[in-house]
């Protein structure tokens, strides 16, 4: 299992638009993926559950990935959250 704790940097946090990007990405992988905020963890492939965490800019979240393609999933997710979204959504 790969685990990362990261700070959300993009301006709108994981609200509607960025959450859609995030969930579209997680659904490309077979691995089970969880996203957690303040010790509450949800299925990162379910947009409604992701939205229900109310993740905003500056929040610290944890990503947990487990499965056959966890390496690739882990890398792509961090790339999206740390590099792509912060540039697109300043």
């Amino acid at each position: 299992m790969k685990v990362a704790e990261i700070k959300i940097l993009n301006k709108s946090g994981l609200h509607a638009r960025p959450a859609a990007r995030f969930v579209q990405l997680t659904n490309k992988f077979k691995s089970s993926i969880q996203i957690c905020k303040s010790s509450k963890c949800v299925d990162a492939k379910n947009i409604l559950k992701v939205l229900s965490l109310g993740i905003d800019q500056g929040d610290i979240i944890t990503i947990k990935v487990e499965g056959s393609d966890e390496e690739e999933a882990y890398k792509s997710i961090l790339e999206l959250l740390l590099n792509v979204l912060p540039v697109e959504d300043k």
Binding site: K11, S12, A16, R17, A19, A20, I47, S52, G54, D56
Partner: protein, 580 residues
């Protein structure tokens, strides 16, 4: 003719016939609600049809809006996949299953900490309703045929409906519900469709097909306008078409007058989402963050909420000033958790008076939250509302120092503290306030200042014509105050509505203001006016302005001066006559 004043949600002007849009009512669950053999299949088919419909929209909306529709697709998929399980396990019909899934998530969303920007209940309901319609009838209701070139009037609109009416060629929008940071308002601004939110609107009472005007600048709606108004607004529409792109361009430029004075243009905001939006709209900082909204529930906000709120807005504006005003509770904003009965609340326990009275319940927790945020974000500043004498500021500072000590925050020394000048008392005592070591700036709150100088209740409709910030008495108080503040080395700002009135801007610059905090909607116009102002010409005019008999004379003097050196006056004409 009916004229109503609402909240301007998207700039622009539309004149056209009305088209009433009735959104679907709630989800109808059939009386006989049992899963048929093909229930699961039917659900999948409804999802496919709804997705086709969204995909059609996806092909035509702007790039930046695609992610929102993608979110809709993903939500619909989740709805149906969970509804399918319910159908299989408890044998209910698809309609009820979807309703149950919807209810579950609406509750989850309501518990989530950020209710402002997340997909709202109305978005989720919109998706569930559409699915149920596909399920029961095989198509989406809510006809938009005939919307072309008309003004849509509705109780509330959802983004999908917005996209449909936008594609159908809608000219303007009026709704009863909604907020300026709702998805529909954001979309209306993106697509340049004038939109006014009119909380007093009764959709049923308005006739279909009548002519109306939507004025997204002043937030005005006119139904059955007079010939005179029709003419005035037709002219404005022409002017607007000329100016639209110009004003947009000015939003992001630096504001410097024709004679080389640089002016800082800050913005006023009333919640985090407005701050988020303001940071991308050319605002050079926040001159006034009204935080009263945090206090409008059954108990005061907890420390964590305060810290989060202030930190977030500070981060949107890294390196630029963000002025938090200590909550101005009482008067027209009594907090629900403390009952105050007063005969005359506008002259009652409000602002600093309220804070000192409830120092344990409200002031100290507020200061704890503020100082914790300040320790991390040094661009935060603090402003005290409704002061009438230095003693109040000293008392406030004492409480603040105690809190700072408790928290072991020593940087409180560097904090830029200011007062809001909104009472005549504060305005005439600025030299005395300047002696307070902690005090760095004053900011003129012209709305209350005007009502207190004139002794005119600004909410009293019968006195509407008397409430005018350009009354020479008000201007004298401001001019004198600015002078005193500058003489004594205090930074001077203005955050009242007067700073958002284009015609007043050159006068304020002549008074000596170099920092204006305005409504973010007007930032392009205000910068445009600044760049067309010759401060020195207006300085020569000061005597005449302060000795004028009427506000209208002040206005005329200003316009003549602008004409005198051929300034471009067109943006002024977009706004209604000074007071109407």
């Amino acid at each position: 003719m009916i004229v109503a004043k609402g909240i301007p949600a998207s700039e622009g002007i539309a004149i056209s016939h009305i088209f009433k849009y009735y959104p679907r009512a709630g989800i109808e669950v059939p009386q006989e609600c049992k899963a048929s053999e093909k229930e699961v299949e039917k659900l999948s088919k409804a999802l496919e049809e709804y997705k086709n419909y969204l995909n059609e929209l996806l092909n035509v909306v702007e790039e930046s809006e695609r992610d929102l529709l993608q979110a809709y697709v993903l939500i619909a998929e989740t709805f149906v996949s969970e509804a399918r399980e319910l159908v299989e396990n408890s044998n209910v019909c698809g309609e009820l299953a979807i309703k149950q899934v919807l209810d579950k998530y609406v509750e989850l969303m309501e518990q989530s900490s950020s209710e402002l920007f997340a997909l709202r209940k109305s978005d989720l309901t919109d998706i569930a309703l559409a699915l149920v319609e596909h399920l029961s009838r095989g198509r989406v209701l809510g006809d938009v045929v005939g919307v072309k070139d008309r003004i849509v009037v509705a109780e509330e609109l959802t983004p999908t409906v917005f996209f449909r009416i936008q594609r159908a060629g809608v000219k303007g929008i009026i709704t009863a519900k909604g907020g300026i940071t709702s998805h529909v308002a954001i979309l209306a601004r993106t697509y340049g469709i004038p939109y006014v939110i009119l909380p007093s609107l009764d959709v049923a009472s308005i006739g279909d097909d009548v002519i109306a005007i939507v004025d997204g600048f002043d937030g005005k709606v006119v139904v059955n306008p007079s010939n005179e108004l029709m003419e005035e607004y037709t002219k404005k529409v022409g002017l607007l078409n000329e100016l639209r792109d110009v004003l947009k361009k000015y939003v992001f430029e630096k504001a410097e007058t024709l004679d080389g004075y640089e002016v800082e243009v800050l913005c006023n905001i009333g919640n985090v989402e407005e701050g988020r939006a303001a940071s991308t709209q050319g605002c050079e900082g926040i001159g006034l963050f009204r935080v009263e909204y945090l206090y409008m529930s059954s108990r005061p906000p907890v420390e964590e909420v305060l810290v989060n709120t202030f930190t977030k807005v500070a981060n949107f504006f890294e390196g630029k000033p963000v002025v938090i005003r200590a909550p101005d509770l009482g008067a027209d904003k009594p907090p629900p958790f403390i009952s105050i009965r007063e005969d005359n609340p506008l002259l009652g326990l409000r602002g600093i008076r309220f804070l000192l009275e409830y120092r344990n319940e409200v002031l100290k927790p507020f200061l704890r939250g503020f100082l914790k945020a300040y320790a991390q974000s040094k661009n935060l500043r603090l402003m005290i509302p409704m002061v009438i004498k230095p003693g109040e500021v000293y008392e406030f500072v004492d409480v603040m120092n105690v809190v700072a000590q408790e928290l072991d925050i020593s940087c409180v020394r560097d904090l830029e503290l200011g007062i809001m000048v909104e009472t005549p008392a504060a305005a005439v005592l600025i030299d005395k306030f300047a002696k307070i070591p902690q005090l760095r700036f004053v900011s003129f709150g012209t709305n209350d200042l005007t009502q207190y100088v004139l002794a005119v209740d600004r909410t009293n409709p019968r006195l509407m014509r008397m409430y005018n910030e350009l009354e020479p008495s008000v201007l004298r108080v401001i001019a004198r105050g600015v002078n005193e503040a500058r003489k004594h080395g205090l930074k001077v700002e203005i955050c009242g509505e007067l700073a958002s009135k284009p015609i007043a801007v050159p006068i304020l610059l002549a008074f000596g203001f170099r920092s204006l905090s305005v409504n973010p909607r007007y930032i392009g116009t205000i910068k445009y006016i600044i760049k067309n102002t010759r401060v020195q010409q207006f300085e020569q005019l000061l005597d005449a302005i302060l000795n004028a008999d009427e506000p209208s004379a002040v206005e005329e003097l200003a316009i003549k001066t602008l004409q005198g050196y051929n300034a471009d006056l067109r943006p002024l004409l977009l706004f209604s006559k000074y007071r109407s």
